[in-house]
Symmetry: C2
Subunit: 203 residues, 2 copies
Amino acid sequence: MEKREERNVAETTARRRQLADAAIATLAREGMRGLTHRAVDRTAGLPEGTCSYYFRTRQALLRATVERLVEVDTADLAERPAALGRSSDPAEVAEAVAEVVRHWATSEGERTKARYELMLEAGRRPELRAALDKAREHYHRLAETTLAAAGAADPAAQAQVLIACMDGLMFRHLTGADPLSGPPERLGDALTDLLRGFAGRRG
Amino acid sequence: MEKREERNVAETTARRRQLADAAIATLAREGMRGLTHRAVDRTAGLPEGTCSYYFRTRQALLRATVERLVEVDTADLAERPAALGRSSDPAEVAEAVAEVVRHWATSEGERTKARYELMLEAGRRPELRAALDKAREHYHRLAETTLAAAGAADPAAQAQVLIACMDGLMFRHLTGADPLSGPPERLGDALTDLLRGFAGRRG
């Protein structure tokens, strides 16, 4: 009897995760306007009504989607270049930053697009903020540690600017402005200059 | 007869502009999902059916909204600090950049939010890109001129990073991360460091 219950819980968790992943893909492709319970069923290849069964309301679906997104983002970032937070060489840190930007804007472009959709939605639905804020604090700490290791003069304030810069580069790439085109070292060089500037005030 | 025709053209132009402004306000408040012809009529305080009469399709409404947004943005930017493109002092340029970011993220926050909604939509509807691309080229030229005047080593590539940084700061402020909180000089100082870094490679 207990075994069966455990199996049911595991199945429910897996199904909810599958639906949240399908919601992320739907959001990336069709935007907030295209995100419906039926569209998520179609994306997941599940019978109509499945998404409504697991997430009764739009709010429940959105919240699960944000939570799943944050979970995947955080796991992905944990595997990113060791230089983040550990190197004191601006060029090495800049290369690591550029790599995260490129990875999230290209291979993980769908998830990143969904994140911007959800961030705009969170501006209208404060109940979505908690999960996003937790992720933001995590990114901020990582950026601050990275900048401090690279000799930054004011890591806390400069981390805000560095994260904004990364977000802006990804957003612009995903919406057609393409700041990542051109030889890759040009972005790396511009970011190195930025990091040298952040360290400059100290010396 | 001709006088009357002229008056009709002027009235049509004014009404279309009024509807596009209402669409911008609707987008900022309710997102892409809330943008319907009826919602625009309500925002504009016009009888139901007006928006459909002037813009038969959703695409026509979206295109007019993007064009109006670009028109207002460009006019607004033309009135911004004289330091943009004319000063060689990093601290002065940083202050001007911070002022644009603050202005667009607060007093003009509605329009800026609508712009990000439209940029994401343009990723899905290439027919919206033309107007946005024209605006982007304009911003890029302005950023490049500004950086060149401030002694930047590679104004073209660095302009991409500067604009991304401004976009990211506004986006994050509008979606609740608030990088503009805290004493205003901290953002100014971080941007000054960035500009000094951009100039540093030269010297």
